[in-house]
Symmetry: C2
Subunit: 342 residues, 2 copies
């Protein structure tokens, strides 16, 4: 058992303007002390990189406190217990939690979640069996109020959340699920592997025409991860009483220093009036008390080989600032995860 551990961490030292840059972070090394009573020391193996992190870097009111300047960058992560002073955990246990962008962490045991690596590898607990999974599940079924026979459109359909939204919608009775993705490789994956009924290559097609073609009778649920022109095309094609689920707006996050500002405002919002439709934002944390039930259902699907997932694992802790950018350029293919070891 090591008493003192060298812990490396990325601290936020500047609030990014537009895309985050390496100089917005400081790569620091500290000595990690022992766990105190009720705490656990964790060796982090995988760090979850998510669009929401961009918002956490901004000052100002949001759904969660901004990361303070000088603080370790917030992130979900997974790893193994080094040593434990909490009765529920022992050395070697695989765990996940909000450990931050660092190689090691000391965490109160009640903020940790033990995971089952017989069911799925650690990175999956940052994707399909983690926050993206919960986001897709509650966003589709609760906020989107998916009903039997619905037509569902999903942006970022090959991404961590979108891929699950489409699959969950199909399982729960959607009559047609259409995805949007960028480029032939991702588009093929969405239809061939994930089982969507159709896909639109937003990089190659005129979006309005394509949405109208693929959803000729309109859309009941649009699950939006991107904002911008795609949101507008969806609005223009809503059915009566449609639900637009605002999960994110990745096309807009880096335009200004403020997540609440957008460069592209939805021109077609009055479609909500004409179609008596609603547009609703949500944060997965609001459903925290129901995670266990959803996680069980997702795990059952996964165990049955019936839930496809894909992780885009980039090796090397030190690459964090550049690897994060893949999210905003569409460079990742699947759930983006940073592996601590090279």
């Amino acid at each position: 058992m090591t008493d003192a551990i060298e812990n490396r961490q990325f601290r936020l030292v500047r609030r990014p303007k537009g895309m985050p840059q390496r100089h917005d972070f400081e790569l620091a090394t500290e000595t990690l002390g022992e766990a105190r009573d009720g705490e656990v020391r964790v060796a982090i193996e995988y760090i979850s990189l998510d669009p929401a992190m961009r918002g956490w870097m901004n000052a100002g009111k949001s759904y969660i406190k901004p990361v303070g300047l000088g603080e370790v960058m917030r992130a979900g992560a997974a790893g193994k217990v080094i040593d434990s002073k909490h009765p529920d955990f022992a050395a070697g246990d695989p765990v996940s939690g909000n450990f931050g962008v660092q190689t090691h962490a000391v965490v109160p045991g009640d903020e940790l979640r033990k995971v089952d690596t017989a069911l799925a590898d650690l990175p999956v607990y940052l994707g399909a069996l983690g926050m993206p999974g919960m986001t897709a599940y509650f966003g589709t079924l609760e906020v989107g109020a998916l009903a039997e026979g619905d037509v569902v459109l999903v942006s970022a359909a090959s991404g961590a959340v979108g891929a699950l939204v489409g699959q969950i919608a199909k399982k729960k009775g959607a009559s047609r699920v259409v995805g949007l993705a960028g480029g032939p490789e991702k588009c093929a994956y969405v239809v061939d592997q994930l089982g969507f009924d159709a896909v639109i290559d937003y990089k190659a097609e005129e979006i309005n025409d394509a949405v109208r073609r693929e959803c000729p009778d309109g859309i009941d649920v649009y699950f939006d991860n991107v904002g911008g022109e795609i949101l507008d095309a969806a609005l223009a094609n809503l059915r009566l009483h449609a639900r637009v689920v605002i999960c994110g707006a990745i096309s807009q996050y880096n335009v200004t220093g403020n997540v609440g500002d957008t460069a592209y405002a939805p021109q077609n919002y009055l479609s909500l009036l004409i179609n008596r439709a609603r547009m609703e934002g949500f944060i997965v944390f609001d459903f925290a008390d129901r995670y266990p039930q959803a996680a069980r259902e997702m795990a059952d699907w996964l165990a049955a080989g019936d839930l496809k997932h894909r992780e885009d694992i980039v090796e090397g802790f030190d690459t964090f600032p550049e690897t994060l950018l893949k999210l905003f350029t569409g460079g990742n293919f699947g759930k983006l995860v940073l592996a601590v070891e090279d």
Copy 2:
């Protein structure tokens, strides 16, 4: 009993571009035949002029069929029965219905509603006890899901719907109701007569600053009749889980030929994500099966002298095209009604 009646009517003959003009209508005279079995002949006394009429003049998909070229312009109205071949109605009965912009009508009896002129004058059945009343009632309580203690912001607060929204919200437990109106006279009315807690003169104040000042803890329900910059200011000041009720967008209707298009898109829509809020459009017709219950409650308040209403009655059937424009210039003060007789 008159067998043949000279009926004058405004027919839509052109689809307006921007503001409707007199040349978009034809003032025609026809001879009205007798009522057939089940029908009733009505002498129209008051015609309801409503923002929604602008939308009905456009071609294209909307929540209701457009008025066809050459057809009588659609409108709610009230008047008295001339003669009846329907068992429920007799000559002299005061009635309301969708009679159109004309001086007389022959209408199936089951499309008529008998009204009680002992409780309120005929024009009130086009306002507080008519569609605007139902719109305010269901928009506030159902779509807005008003809860005890809510902070409510209402645009067009001296208008037909807005004036009722604020009063209903206060009756149902809102902790604070703030209105927006144009000019000192309307603003004084909103606070002194209608009992709103505060009012913002959108013509005199910087809207963002004023909304922040009057709703310092944010907004739970924003009832939007206008769209544009006021909607954006409301979005910027939402509370967690706020509801934005899209009833109309009068600032936007005349910009293009299409109600679905807007000149001013809501830049701050991502406030819906940050605040897990929803924005929802509705059409009062969706609540038609519950009108009787709501109408009874509204009538009780009115009978108790507890529901303020104001009609802006313009005399002269022939002035229809110009009188209608008062809605879009903010020229009316209260529910705009056209009196058929001079």
